[in-house]
């Protein structure tokens, strides 16, 4: 199993030596996951907040649907998005197949239920006492909303971090929609899949470590934000 050690050494070599293929895959990964995270947070936080904050008929059913969508397999999302983006599909005119924005659409579908469900849970879990105390302080309806959102910020951040983890690590969508095209849509995960299928296990491990390093960077940034 000496390829594990070789992988660690190779990871360092790729990063320090500035291997252009690796940096291209890193850039593709960062770009596509940023697009997907921006879209899923913009849509997911308001939706999740509404789902957690308001009482409305069908709320339990809506929650059930969102929780079920947490189990969407990435290959299945990839296949569905491919069906829509294919030139023979309903959105074929947009030319998004084999592009990073196309992959980002799929990853947004992957991340959205995570953001909605965890945001809703964060809002729900603190609402009871906060609501009464805010109301007793004479808060208006708008202030009540803003106060709840502010107090739920750590839960929402956790939702973002969790969704980011899923988006960064998925391979099914990137492979099917992106096509693993060198210099264009090859992300770190599809590169790992390719190297593994070529029998280059050490290279696969090296790329996996590179991905972990990026994730570490992202999470360090979040924890930096969290400090007062």
């Amino acid at each position: 199993m000496d390829f594990i050690l070789q992988g660690v050494i190779q990871a360092l070599r790729l990063l320090v030596g500035g291997d252009p293929e690796t940096y291209s895959a890193v850039a593709a990964t960062v770009k596509v996951s940023s697009m997907a995270m921006a879209a899923s947070l913009l849509m997911g936080i308001p939706l999740g907040f509404c789902l957690g904050h308001f009482d409305f008929p069908g709320k339990r059913q809506a929650r059930l649907v969102v929780d079920t969508l947490l189990s969407l397999p990435t290959v299945f999302i990839g296949l569905m998005v491919y069906a829509f983006l294919s030139r023979q599909g309903p959105m074929g005119q947009m030319g998004l197949l084999f592009t990073l924005p196309g992959v980002a659409i799929g990853q947004t579908i992957l991340a959205l239920p995570v953001v909605i469900a965890l945001t809703a849970t964060a809002v729900e879990s603190m609402d009871a006492e906060l609501r009464t105390s805010l109301l007793s302080l004479g808060a208006s309806r708008a202030q009540l909303l803003a106060g709840s959102l502010w107090e739920a910020r750590h839960g929402i951040l956790a939702a973002g971090v969790t969704a980011y983890g899923r988006v960064m690590t998925e391979v099914g969508i990137s492979m099917m929609v992106g096509g693993n095209i060198k210099w264009h849509t090859r992300t770190i995960t599809t590169a790992i899949a390719l190297e593994t299928s070529k029998g280059m296990f050490a290279m696969g491990i090296a790329l996996g470590l590179v991905l972990l390093l990026i994730a570490f960077g992202a999470n360090a940034a979040v924890s930096f934000l969290r400090r007062k």
Binding site: Y23, S24, V26, A27, A28, V30, K31, S34, S86, R87, Q88, G89, G92, G95, L97, F98, W150, G179, N180, I181, K182, W183, H184, T196, S197, K198, G199, M200, A221, F224, L225, K228
Partner: protein, 279 residues
């Protein structure tokens, strides 16, 4: 509300993210030809070797996605790629006859070999294909199949037919990997079993193992083991968005003297991986 996230910090983070995202956006868009091909042309490095020559001589950028032949043909059927480089003649001819593709040009071949442990428990060495497959089935020796509807998988299925054997679909010794060729070879090596592979991938595998691969070639040279590759343009009459001109230029280039010479020159461990055979 003592804790506040400073806006400055947030902006700084966004800037870092934006800078990281920039380099890949800078690439200029020339004429781009999109190809679907099989794992064997990509895994062996043939396309990495040919593509820069093609781009230099024609100004066309070649991009490819490598999958099994089954999926490559499906991508062509759905008009999602401009050109195909695949190796499953029967399926290719059906594809062209159904009107999905035009200008099918044979460009090269390599051949398939049956590999297995050097000890050769089923006694296949030097036999013909039919006899070797029969021996493997009789001995219930482990055989790893691609099992992914690729050109290689289709070839293997035809060998069972040639040996007058049903495909051992549910036998415990018959493992259907559902993965690419090198992964399949690695699985066969782990299980000390047999598999059928294209010679190019095997040479690459042997090279990666430092010339001392755990599995060796046992059956080769049978006419039934030839593996011809062809370039097919996706039919622009069916798929208006497809770049028919560029696809034809790629086909002509591959079948022309320059492409053919480059294919013949592509070697690993001193052995040619593919043999040009355009008419």
């Amino acid at each position: 509300m003592k804790r506040r996230w400073s806006i400055g910090r947030l902006l700084a983070l966004l800037c870092v993210a934006a800078i990281l995202g920039l380099p890949a956006a800078a690439a200029a868009e020339g004429e781009v030809l999109m190809m679907a091909t099989t794992t064997s042309t990509d895994n062996t490095g043939l396309l990495d070797y040919l593509a820069p020559h093609f781009t230099e001589e024609t100004g066309i950028e070649l991009r490819w996605t490598s999958t099994g032949t089954g999926k490559a043909l499906e991508l062509g059927r759905n008009c999602d790629v401009d050109v195909l480089l695949v190796h499953a003649p029967a399926a290719e001819i059906a594809f062209v006859e159904a009107g999905f593709g035009i200008h099918r040009r044979p460009v090269m071949y390599n051949d398939f070999v049956i590999i297995g442990p050097a000890a050769d428990p089923a006694g296949t060495k030097g036999q013909g294909v039919a006899a070797a497959m029969t021996a493997i089935a009789d001995q219930k020796a482990v055989f790893v199949s691609r099992g992914d509807d690729s050109g290689t998988h289709k070839k293997e299925l035809s060998l069972w037919a040639r040996a007058d054997r049903p495909v051992p679909e549910r036998e415990s010794w018959y493992i259907q990997a559902g993965q690419g060729m090198l992964t399949t070879i690695n699985m066969a090596a782990e299980r000390n079993g047999y598999t059928m592979t294209d010679r190019g991938t095997f040479i690459k595998y042997a090279h990666d193992k430092g010339g001392q691969p755990p599995l060796v070639i046992l059956v080769e040279g049978d006419a039934a083991l030839l593996n011809p590759y062809a370039v097919i343009s996706v039919n622009p009459d069916r798929c208006p968005k497809v770049k028919g001109d560029l696809a034809n230029r790629f086909g002509e280039w591959m079948a022309g003297t320059r492409g053919q010479a480059l294919i013949a020159d592509f070697k690993l461990m001193g052995q040619p991986l593919f043999f040009p055979d355009a008419e």
